[in-house]
Amino acid sequence: MSVQALKCKECGERYPLDARYACEVCFGPLEVEYDLSGLDAESTRRRIQAGPQTIWRYADFLPFEQPPKTALAAGVTPLVRADRLADRLGVREVWIKNDAANPTHSFKDRVVTVALAKARELGYEVVACASTGNLANAVAAHAAAAGLESYVFIPADLEEQKVLATGVYGTKLVAVKGNYDDVNRLCTELSGEREGWAFVNVNVRPYYAEGSKTLSYEIAEQLGFELPDRVVGPIASGSLFTKLGRGFQEWIEVGLLEGEVPTMNGAQAEGCSPVAQAFEGGHDVCRPVRPETIAKSLAIGNPADGPYALDLARRTGGSIDSVTDDEIRAGIRLLAETTGIFTETAGGVTTAVLRKLAERGDIDSSERVVAVITGEGLKTLDAVKGSFETHLIEPSADAFAQEFEQDAVAVAD
C-alpha cells in the first residue's frame, strides 16, 4: 500500500487519513502523501494496462488500499490529435484531451468518484458540494448512483442548462443568493457544523483533488507512456492545474515516464483572473477578485490553490494567461470548427489561451502540445447564441437556390 497520510503542503505536519482539509498548525492545505518507492515501473505499467477502462486503472496512485467499487465510472476519455487546429494555429502537434466525454460531461466525474468512494469508506451517508455547475452535475449524479443523500449548493445565477442537469438526479439543490465565493464560504462554514456530511470540495477535498491526477496519467498513457512538451489547462481554484503537474511528477518518479514535467500553461478568463494577474505581477499569492465573466465554471475569485498554480507555471517555464469573453466565444468556435468538439466556456478559455500562446510565439516548432478540455458545450449554450447565421427558407428548391447562389449555378448546370 502506497498511501501514507495527509500532509500539510505548507508546514509538513502529518494527519491520519480521515475527513480534514486544513492544517491545524498553520491552516495550510492538506495533501495525500504516498510512498511510491515500492512501485516497480514495469509491473506497475502492466497492472495499469490490465486495469479497468476507468480511473481505477491508476489505483496505485489513488488514496485507497484497495480500488473501491463505484456505481458510476469516470475517466478514460479520448485524446484526439487535432491536426486542423494545429494548422490554424501554425504549430506542429496539438492534442485535445476531451474530458467532456465523462458520465456528466466534465472532468468533475474524476474527482467526485474519488471523493464519494472516500466518503463512503469513512462512513458518510450525506454528500454535498459548493459548485460552479459541473461539480453540481457530478455530485448529484454520482450520489444518485450510489444511493447517497446529496445537497448541492450553487450560485443563484448559474446557467440554466447546469441547473437542469443537476436537479434531474433528485438532489437537494440549494441556489445561494451570491457568487461562487459566497457559496464556498457558506459551505466551509457548514462543513464545520454538519458532522455527518462529506463536502466533496471542503472536508474531503484532499482526496477529491487526487482524482485530477488521472488526467495526466491518461494523457501520458494514451501517448504511449510519453510526456507531452506542453499542457494547457484551465484554472479556477487551481486544484486541477496543480494536480496535472503532480500526476506527471509521480510517474516520472516511479519511472513510468522519462523526462521533465511539461511546460504548464494556465488559462483564465479576464473577468476572473486573480491567478493570471498574480503571475503577471510577480506575486506569490492571489488578490481575490469579484468575477464578471461568461466562463462561470471558472468564476472563482478567491482561488484556494492559486499559490501552487503560480509555482507550477513558473517552475516549468510556463505562464498563466487570461482572455476576454469575446476571445472565449471565438475559442469555442475555433475548437468546434477544427475538431468537431463542442466545449463549454471553460474549454473556450483554454483554446483561446492556446491560440494566444501560438500567436505570441511561445510554442516551439518541435513541441507536442496537449490542451485539456474539461467540459461540454451543451452546458453553456448561451455562449454561442448569435455566433452564426441560420438560413430560413420556404420549403422549395427555388427558395434554397435563391438563398445559396453558388449552389444555384451548380443545380442549373
Binding site: R185, T188, G192, R205, G238, I300
Partner: protein, 91 residues
Amino acid sequence: MAVTVKIPTQLRSVTGGEAEAQVDDVTTVGEVLDGLYDRFDGLRDRIAEDGDLRRFVNVYVGGEDIRFLDGLETAVEDGDEVTILPAVAGG
C-alpha cells in the same frame, strides 16, 4: 460594544472547544483578533505570522472578505459578526 467571532473547528482546540467568542471595546478587525489572542493561548501562531494573517486564512465581516474591505484595519461595529475560515476549500 461587542463583536461576535465565529471560530472554525480547526481552532477550537485552542479555544477550549468554543465555537463563538464575544470581543468587547474594539473598532477594527485587527483589534478583534488581538482580543482573541489575549484570551486564547496559542491562537496567534495558528493564524498569524509576522503581524499579518497567514496566507490560507480568510476573515470575513458580515460575510464580506476583509481583503475587499480594509484588511485588518476594517472597521467593526456593535453586533457585527466576524468569521475566520480556512482558505483551502472549493474548486
